[in-house]
Amino acid sequence: MAKAELKTKHKTEIEDSSSLKGTLASVFLLGFFIIITWVSVYYLFVERF
């Protein structure tokens, strides 16, 4: 546990102020949301006659 904490701390220290990893994570969350909704409605289409 302590070790893990140390690790994350270390990470934030070297965090580059121009990093865009939050952006990358955000757009991928958005992408997954799109996929989930699309697949749900596609499922409805396949399920219905």
Partner: protein
């Protein structure tokens, strides 16, 4: 390119006056349309009936025309006119006169169409599908709105052209460039609706010809109908790309990529109208699918936009010392209505866009076509993403133009307004989406359909929509209070017209973006490619035409 001295630049008072004229009309339309919206949700709940024998479809026509056509067109023209004046310089007297002529032409057209709707001579909804036949004055009014908007848009183009002439070899100011793209998009798109109204509906309603070709008319309408929604969306994108960064104190992520995405919108938002006609007879399924593919292309610039916006926010947050994956999110200026209100709009574009991809997915349209899901969808896109951004723009632009200040109290009220709208829309649009998946139809007054079991399942959702509609109407009242305050009563002062700077100002945009011959050429080629053959097919295989019907 845009240095800090420029940020003090004010829109010339003479230009401000014309912009404000647009905004008066837009906000009157919002008030009227908002009241109708509330009544619609109440009627649809089954607990309320309209007084005095007023028909549901008459008020629905008022709502659609006021919100979809008047509010949007007037707000956008007023905003873009000011944005061009702010970034490309004060309009010349000739350009301003052109703008006024356009404004009055649009206003006269609006008055004509509105009169006919109020006399119940045009309860044909804002899409006026033939062979429902409205009074000819309604069609003439619409023609004037469109022609007026061309003249109005010409003012922006004139000032942009003057800037280009005075600054040879330099990329134009980003905001002006975007405004002109949207105006050009609008002009190319409205050619379709102008064609059907002028050559088909007007002569037909005047009795000069007996019949109308319904599918030709619908195809021309939807050639216009899809770019119409991008015409609404692009001003919101202008705010997100160029104004929001300045408001939060950050930078535009990339000037060039912003231009590229606008060019892509121009190219791909027009040759896609068939995605509104996917379940229609008379159109070859291969051509439908082809336009579906082009529709998906227009998703790409929105994917780029999403990245740019997140990147602007993250860069800004990190410059304020935020850490971690999402730490930047917390340090955004949530107390500033000019940011928060459009931000709610941006966030709403996530479910809105996801829904749009579903609607456009060829045969999947059969699940949702003309169900109330669609209404839920465009109340996220237009009635949330777009209008909340417009409200957010108003909160600084109106005082900027009237020489007043957005006070702390009004700022607070603005933020409350944004969240009220959001909550109302979660109820209304959310319930519409679910009811639509169960098959509940759109554009329909309350009905039990003879006690059908399926229809009974829809009613609870309609009650939820009435709850949402009531909350939204409260939101409308708040906007109107703020608008009236900022236009007439707020303390005198200076409110900034924020325009962002690019992160890398030295990396100037490639001049190819300003090559209108190229982009208009590709636009025309794509349109011709997507429409020529199916359109010839439609005309050659046309059934006997339809005479007019007045079924309301």
């Amino acid at each position: 390119m845009v240095n800090s001295a420029v940020s003090k630049i004010k829109v010339d008072p003479r230009d401000a006056k014309l912009s404000m004229a647009h905004f008066y009309v837009a906000f009157i339309a919002l008030a009227l349309g908002g009241l109708m919206g509330l009544l619609q949700t109440l009627v649809r709940s089954g607990k309320y009936e309209l007084p005095g024998g007023i028909g549901y479809y008459q008020i629905l026509t008022v709502h659609g025309v006021m919100m979809g056509l008047v509010l949007t067109t007037f707000f956008i023209m007023g905003f873009q006119y000011a944005a061009v004046s702010r970034t490309a310089g004060t309009h010349s007297n000739a350009a301003r006169r052109t703008g006024w002529i356009g404004f009055w032409t649009m206003t006269a057209g609006t008055a004509m169409a509105a009169t006919m709707v109020l006399l119940n001579k045009a309860s044909v909804l804002y899409t006026f599908y033939a062979p429902l036949q409205a009074h000819w004055i309604f069609y003439l009014g619409l023609t004037l709105v469109v022609v007026g908007s061309w003249i109005d848009g010409a003012a922006q183009i004139m000032t942009y052209a003057k800037w280009r002439k005075n600054n040879p070899g330099k990329p134009s100011p980003l905001l002006s460039f975007m405004a002109v793209i949207n105006t050009v998009l609008w002009i190319v798109a409205t050619l379709g609706v102008a064609a059907t109204v002028l050559f088909q509906l007007l002569p037909w309603s005047l009795g000069l010809v007996d019949t109308v070709d319904v599918l030709v008319s619908r195809t021309l309408f939807w050639y216009f109908g899809h770019p119409l929604v991008y015409f609404w969306l692009l001003p919101a994108y202008m705010c997100w790309y160029t104004i929001i960064p300045k408001i939060i104190g950050g930078k535009i992520f990339s000037d060039s990529l912003a231009r590229l995405s606008f060019i892509l919108f121009l190219l791909f938002s027009i040759p896609v109208g068939f995605h509104h006609q996917l379940t229609e007879p008379g159109i070859d399924p291969a051509w439908k699918f082809f336009q579906v593919v082009l529709t998906f292309m227009v998703v790409i610039p929105s994917l780029m936009t999403a990245f740019s916006l997140f990147a602007t926010f993250e860069r800004y947050g990190r410059s304020k010392g935020a850490t971690g994956l999402f730490g930047w999110f917390k340090v955004l200026p949530w107390g500033d209505a000019r940011f928060t209100v459009p931000f709610i709009g941006m966030a709403s574009f996530i479910p809105a866009g996801a829904g749009g991809i579903i609607n456009a997915s060829n045969q999947m349209d059969q699940v949702v076509h003309n169900t109330i899901w669609i209404t839920g969808h465009f109340h996220l896109t237009a009635a949330t993403s777009v209008v909340l951004t417009f409200f957010g723009i108003s909160y600084w632009l109106i005082p900027h133009l009237t020489g007043r200040k957005l006070t702390k109290a009004m700022n607070k009220l603005g933020i409350i307004q944004g969240w009220v709208w959001f909550i109302g829309m979660v109820f209304m649009s959310g319930a519409m989406h679910f009811e639509g998946l169960l098959g509940g139809p759109r554009r329909s007054a309350f009905s039990t359909y003879g006690g059908a079991k399926q229809a009974a399942e829809w009613i609870p959702y309609q009650i939820a929509q009435a709850v949402g509609g009531s909350i939204l109407f409260l939101g409308i009242i708040l906007v109107l209070i703020i608008f009236i305050n900022l236009a007439f009563f707020a303390p005198k002062g200076e409110e900034e017209f924020p325009v962002g700077e690019a992160e890398n100002p030295q990396e100037s945009a490639p001049m190819v973006f300003e090559n209108w011959k190229l982009w208009l050429g590709i636009t025309a080629a794509l349109i011709l490619f997507a429409y020529t053959i199916p359109f010839i097919d439609i005309i050659q295989n046309a059934p006997p035409g339809s005479k007019g019907f007045k079924t309301w």
